[in-house]
């Protein structure tokens, strides 16, 4: 049993019980003729509709999804549709990054008395989906040739920072030294197993403090550890981007302000180890063979396999640093050294530009090829400073059973959507998810797309104001930038 071949397409509807389901009933009672494609799932309120239900449907065979609730201000539960409007609008902006035509999803408002309007909504939405035709399926997409070349052609732009690494290490050490006796732990960085790999450092004593290092190899977001250290007095050394995560955690009351001491270091960019690896491979060696590395004003000098290689920061800096608005801590108890200049140039990231340049079909195919190598280690999630569910993430839960153990590309992609949706309006684009991925899957693109939507719709940037409420946990009765109701 499936859709009537050639006649119907698979259209799933989510209707609130009080208004739209009643409206559909009224339309039935009034014998308002409608197309037969739509299958309606009744929910108490449009606010109950998790955007992930819609993605689940669209990734699993739906050709279109229609949501309908009470008109704004007329919600049976007073506010449900206000929340729904924000979440669904954000979803609409997000879908294209997956390669799903946003026209396949629509939300609207129909009251219990609007039989005729319901008829119109169903008819025009069904017509729209028929015009779009059957949706392409993730499993069946094929990547066109030459995509890599097109990507490479998109320039990453300049790194506007002055390149002068703020080497204020001694000052930082002095400051930490001063406060360490009152703190249980101070989180910073130290040299790791080789000259290129730094690693987070948990300082408990003056002896530990000697291991502290500073520079573009301090790639990890130290804020990630804060929620798990709740209850302890914790000092944390932050780059600008790390500080935004601290702000976000404070905002969500996941850390206690009185228990953390923030040491802000001006940042002039960090390296992307994958880029260094790629550059070294092109030169016949690899990151695994690095013998020495030095980061200086001119960039990174690496000795590997007996040879010396020099890279300008522009060649190896992390993508996020090319348009960094906050190189200095947004929030700090102690700011060390002079502020770094911002490199924000209003441009979107290279990665997002690459996505914009792809067709929807290509985007879907691209994810298919990328997600294929996901090993489901969830490093993306665990490295995310805002994934505070971690142990209770729905990715591994059997109840609710959002994601199965089947290692299909759809299930793997679904998890990435879960991550993007759950961090929508909270994500500061620190990039830890993508950096942590042992398979180098470009998952930050999804968050970037989400953040673009959040910026455009709510003029909001996460992690800048500890007093703000994340936009998807709030609403306005009149939304300035949401113009719904095209149906």
């Amino acid at each position: 049993m499936s859709v009537l071949t050639g006649k119907e397409l698979r259209i799933v509807g989510f209707l609130c019980n009080w208004c739209s389901y009643g409206g559909a009933d009224t339309a039935g009672v009034g014998r308002f003729v409608q197309p037969t494609d739509l299958r309606i799932i009744r929910v108490p309120c449009s606010g109950r509709i998790d955007p992930l239900f819609i993605v689940k449907a669209l990734l699993n065979g739906a050709d279109g999804v229609l949501v309908s609730g009470c008109h704004p201000r007329d919600c049976h539960y007073s506010q449900g549709n206000f929340y729904a409007r924000r979440r669904l609008e954000v979803l609409k902006h997000f879908l294209p990054v997956l390669g799903i035509d946003p026209a396949r999803f629509e939300y609207t408002w129909v009251s219990a008395s609007e039989a005729q309007r319901w008829q119109k909504v169903v008819s025009s939405f069904t017509e729209r989906i028929h015009k779009l035709g059957p949706a392409s399926r993730l499993e069946n997409t094929a990547l066109p040739d030459g995509l890599e070349k097109r990507f490479a052609a998109i320039a990453s732009g300049e790194l506007p920072s002055d390149g002068k690494a703020a080497t204020r290490l001694e000052e930082l050490k002095d400051r930490i030294h001063e406060f360490l006796p009152d703190l249980d732990i101070v989180i910073g960085w130290q040299r790791g197993f080789d000259a290129l790999h730094n690693t987070p450092l948990f300082m408990r004593s003056a002896e530990d403090l000697e291991k502290l290092v500073w520079g573009p190899l301090n790639i990890h977001n130290t804020a990630t550890y804060l929620p798990s250290l709740r209850g302890k007095k914790v000092g944390v050394v932050v780059k600008g981007c790390d500080s935004r995560s601290v702000v976000e955690l404070l905002q969500e009351k996941l850390v206690d302000r009185e228990n953390i001491v923030v040491f802000g270091m001006p940042c002039s960019g960090i390296v992307d180890l994958s880029k260094i690896d790629r550059a070294l491979r092109e030169r016949g060696t690899g990151i695994g063979r690095v013998q020495a590395a030095e980061c200086g004003e001119k960039g990174v000098t690496i000795k590997a396999g007996g040879q010396e290689y020099r890279f300008a920061m522009e060649e190896v800096a992390a993508d996020k640093c090319f348009h960094c608005e906050y190189p200095n801590a947004v929030l700090a108890d102690h700011l060390i050294g002079n502020a770094s200049p911002s490199s924000s140039n209003g441009k979107i990231s290279r990665q997002l530009a690459a996505f914009d340049a792809m067709s929807l079909q290509e985007r879907m195919a691209y994810w298919r090829s990328q997600m294929d190598r996901c090993i489901r280690c969830h490093a993306c999630r665990n490295a995310c400073p805002l994934c505070v569910c971690k142990d209770h993430c729905i990715a591994q839960s059997r109840d609710p059973h959002w994601i199965s153990q089947e290692d299909t590309i759809t299930e793997k992609l679904m998890f990435q959507v879960v991550h993007a949706v759950h961090t929508a309006g909270r994500c500061t684009e620190c990039g830890e998810c993508e950096r942590a991925c042992p398979m180098d899957i470009p998952i930050l693109a999804m968050k970037r797309q989400m953040n673009r939507a959040i910026r455009e719709l709510f003029e909001y940037k996460a992690g800048t104001d500890p007093e703000a409420v994340p936009p998807l946990l709030a609403f306005q009765a009149e939304e300035k930038n949401i113009h719904e109701g095209v149906l």
Partner: protein, 355 residues
Amino acid sequence: MTGAKFLSKEKLLDWLAELGQTRRVFMPVEEGGKIVFRPCTNGDTPALVRDASASPKGVVFPSSAELFRYTKTKARGGKSSMELKPGTEFEPALIFGTRPCGARGFTIFDRVYTGGKFNDPYYRAARENTLIVTLACEGPENTCFCNWVGSGPDDPTGSDVLATPVEGGFVLESVSERGEALLESPLLQPAEARTAEADSVKSRARAELPPARDISAAPQSIRALFDNQKFWDEVSSKCLSCGACTYLCPTCYCFTITDEDHGDSGKRLRSWDNCMSYQFSLEASGHNPRPTKAHRLRNRVGHKFSYYPQLHEGLLACCGCGRCIRSCPVSMDIREIVLDAIDRVQAKNCEVVHE
């Protein structure tokens, strides 16, 4: 025993194609800057300059394997019956291009799944039907420590054929009976003239590895620290509790079993599990004997360097490939933890002696 054979670089793909006539051939290929094992298809070239990011274990022990499918069928009169269909049968396979550490990983599996009282039919079928052509290493990476665990850049353990890269090709030596047959291909030439060169490649590689640290005290030391929560808290501080290390590890063999239902049918899956995850030891009651990442890291390190060797004649459940170090998002170094544990216990013992 057949002597060593020479395979010229130009003939490599032909040889793989020839092998592909009777079995599925997997080889390391580059994808998005990472190297993964994929079925060998026309046009692909293997990525052989360095070890694969993923381990070869997935070929024999897939990240998610269908054990069987079930369908509930209803007969007239309301009686229903369950119909079981076995999962897809394992088709013969060959892994080309794993490094010795990756091949050695299977021997850790073997002892658990086929060696003792318990015999895992799925694993056995896959393992017995998989041949491994291993590529000897020419030089180590910073994360390599195979020599610490009794292996080395030319360790043939677990392999069927060992291929050593030489100028213009590879010297192939069979290291198992099954490997013998592989060397009978007309595409291969006798390699007498090249064996010396291969030997020198191997010894150079061995020499390039930094000297092995003595970790023979690891099993006792880690055991002694079992209840030292402070130690494990400290060494696990920066751990993110993700599963990158275990899923990439050639020796991590843990799995979970789930039924994925759909309507009246479903499948039973065996999927990789990961002891760094909270769910790994979560009990139905909600109690979790390993509630923190410190407990879980203790298990991972302990299992590899203490519990397993104690059950398996001192054999460490680690092949020294360094994937867990290389791919760790926060550059955790298992070598450091093991050495730290040994040092800690030694220091304590010294204190005791002094007293």
